[in-house]
Structures are given as C-alpha cells and as structure tokens.
C-alpha cells in the first residue's frame, strides 16, 4: 500500500491499494507520527483504496480513538462502493464521519 501525506488546514493521508494485516501497521506508524507532531486533525482519503479487512478496520478505530484523545478527529472520504458496503454492514458509518469528497472533508474541519 502506498501512503501519501499532504499538509493543509488538516493533514490528508491518501491510501492507495489494500489495507490488510501488513499495510495496517504502516498506516498506524504514519498516522501516529502525525499525531505525535501535534497534527491531530486528519483526513484519510480512500479514493484509491480498494480493500480493507478487519485488521484494517481495527487500526482505523484505534487511530480514530487516538486522534480523539488528543483533541482532534480522524475523518474519512471518497470511499469506493465495496468499502461503503463494508462500513455500512459493520455499522462503522455511525462511528466515523465519512464525506463523499476530500473537499467536503476539509470543509468539515473549517
């Protein structure tokens, strides 16, 4: 999985590929690094993410809780249909703030 981080009003992390046991750890390291540097408002852009297993979901929830505990938030945007289905079925749409586009997600922090 490829991870690209952009700095804006918030930190935007673009996920590319698949979120599984191995890449979930890579994501954790990247996001924990942002949070430890005080960048606690984070958007994960899922536009290029085609797959996540439960290990990926587990990591997302852990990072969401971490961002919240530091006074920030972790929001998601641009989910592909397969991941929309996954988040709907697991009721995780009730946990995360999810936006259709990156612009919408950025605007939500303003």
């Amino acid at each position: 999985m490829e991870i690209i981080t952009k700095e804006n009003i918030v930190s935007i992390v673009e996920l590319n590929g698949e979120l599984d046991n191995e890449s979930a750890e890579e994501l954790r390291i990247n996001v924990e690094d942002l949070i430890s540097n005080g960048k606690v408002n984070i958007i994960l852009n899922f536009n290029e993410l085609s797959y996540s297993n439960s290990a990926g979901l587990r990591e997302l929830i852990a990072l969401y809780k971490l961002a919240n505990s530091k006074g920030g938030d972790l929001r998601l945007c641009s989910l592909q249909p397969q991941l929309e289905d996954l988040f709907s079925f697991t009721n995780l749409k009730k946990v995360f703030n999810i936006y259709p586009t990156e612009e919408d997600a950025v605007a939500s922090f303003e």
């Binding site: 599984d20 297993n53 979901l57 587990r58 397969q82 996954l86 697991t90 009730k94 946990v95």
Partner: protein, 290 residues
C-alpha cells in the same frame, strides 16, 4: 480449420466501412452484425452470440480502446481486433497491451483483414473447446503454513489464480471470497494458534466453476465463536476487534465450525440464487445473531 462459420461484430461509426466489411466477410461465409458505436456494440454482445469483434478506434462517445476494455470485463476470452489509421502505431501498441487479439490498419488490405478475422475465430473456437470441460473439473489445493499472517496474501493470490482459470466469477471472488478467506486465516493464525510459529494452519481448497469450499484448521485450543460480542451492537461499535467472524458470515454462503472450534469450513457458490445457498445463508445469519 475447415469450418469457417462464425459471427463477427463490426463496430465503426462510418456506415460505409461497416457495409464494406459486411460484404467482404459475408463472402467468406461469416455472419456479420454491425454496431455504429460502442454502446450499441455492448448491447449486441449481451443479446447475440459473437465470436470476434472488429472495432474502429476513433469513434465518438466511446472509443475503440475503451470499448475493448468493457468487452474484456464481459467476455475476457472474446478476440477483439482493433482497426487503426496509418501512423498510429502507438494506439495499436496500447490496444495490444490492453488485451486486443490483433490490429489492422485502415485503409484495409482485404486479404490481411480476412486472415486476421479467421485467426481470431480459430482462437475463439479453441478457447470454447477448452471451456467445454470446465463444468466437470474440480481442483483440490492444499497448503500447510506456519502461523504467520505474512503468508495470507500469497495464499489468496494462488487460490484466485486457480479459481479464475476454472471460471469461478472473478467479481464474486474479489468482492466477497477474498475478504472471507483473509479473515478465516487471520483468525486461525492469531486467535487459534496465537501466532505460535511452530503451529501450522492447514488450508484445503476445492475449486470448481460453480463452487469454492475452504476447510481451514489450526492447532490451537479451540475458539468459541459464540463468545464474541456482536460488533454491530451500538455498545460495541467502538471496540477495535471482533469483526472478522461477522464478515465471514456476511460474505460467504455457508459457514460451519467444528465442535472444538479449531476448524471452519467456508462455502461460496458462483450462482448466488441457488436454494442451497439461500437456506445456508439464513442459517448462518441466525447462528451469528444467537
């Protein structure tokens, strides 16, 4: 090849070219269906038995390369011949890289175009012949892996390749089966064998075009699925774990555990409307909710 019969779908926005190709190919004993754009062509593919597609590249609406990509999704083995103008070798290369069977240049050399179309028909017949036996094949694969999640990706890849080869629907595999096997293997490695590298996980796979069946066993002490709190319950939504078993039940048609909780059998049918599948899906959902 002695029998040259076959149906060719000619796609070109130029009516005159279509007429020319119809006359030419008909003289060689072939049936010709004409479509004046890509959308019409895709419609014809769902309603007619087509053996070879001959398409222009430059067409308004949907160009020939995009059309070919759409055709490959519907019928991966259908030979697509792309017609390009002189001096557009880059487009021809792009078409071949995208899966085109061959290309020919406009204006045509009639002998060349007939030769390429007939070659396409030959390839199609060979592929149809090979597919005839598919309903009677069942492939059995077996893996015996140490308890390390890093093996999961490769195992899924091998199973995917074999399933694809035997004609199990790729979409069904990618959207559902892949996640379910991932979860089952992860459970066996992490919760069953507690990632003890000396303990093995055994995976026995039966692959047929109609059905995939996975038997996954670990050497752990047993895992009580019913003890997992419902991860969809609002009380548990913020829990980090506990979703794997739920996802397996959601994406597969049938799930069976042995009494000890060291073995799970997952079944997925290619045709999601079978009665067997519906019954088992209902049972599985029931047992997860209990």
């Amino acid at each position: 090849m002695t029998d040259q019969n076959g149906t060719i779908l000619v796609v070109d926005d130029d009516d005159l070219i279509c007429q020319l190709l119809r006359d030419l190919l008909s003289r060689h004993g072939l049936s010709v269906i004409v479509a004046l754009d890509g959308f019409e062509a895709l419609k014809a593919l769902t309603s007619e038995q087509i053996d070879v597609v001959l398409t222009d590249v430059n067409m308004p609406g949907m160009n020939g390369i995009v059309l070919m990509e759409e055709i490959k999704k519907l019928a991966p083995d259908l030979p697509v011949i792309v017609m390009t103008g002189w001096g557009t070798e880059d487009i021809a290369v792009k078409a071949l890289q995208g899966g085109a069977f061959n290309f020919c240049r406009k204006p045509f050399n009639v002998h060349e175009i007939v030769r390429i179309v007939k070659k396409g028909l030959e390839v199609k017949r060979l592929s149809d012949k090979q597919r005839e036996v598919l309903p009677f094949i069942e492939l059995n694969l077996s893996f015996d892996i140490p308890s390390d999640v890093r093996y999961i990706r490769s195992i899924i890849w091998h199973i995917y390749q074999m399933s694809k080869q035997l004609g199990f629907p790729e979409k069904e595999f990618n959207l559902r089966v892949k996640l379910a096997i991932d979860e089952a293997l992860c459970n066996s490695i992490r919760h069953g064998n507690k990632e003890d590298i000396n303990k093995k996980v055994k995976i026995e796979v039966q692959i047929s075009p109609e059905k995939l069946r996975f038997k996954i066993s670990d050497e752990g002490e047993g895992f009580d699925v019913s003890a997992i709190p419902d991860p969809k319950d609002p009380e548990n939504l913020n829990n980090e774990g506990g979703r794997g078993v739920l996802l397996m039940a959601y994406y597969m048609d049938k799930i069976e555990y042995n009494e000890k909780g060291t073995e799970v059998i997952l079944t997925k049918y290619a045709n999601s409307d079978t009665e067997d599948k519906k019954q088992h899906a209902a049972q599985t959902q029931g047992s997860i909710r209990e």
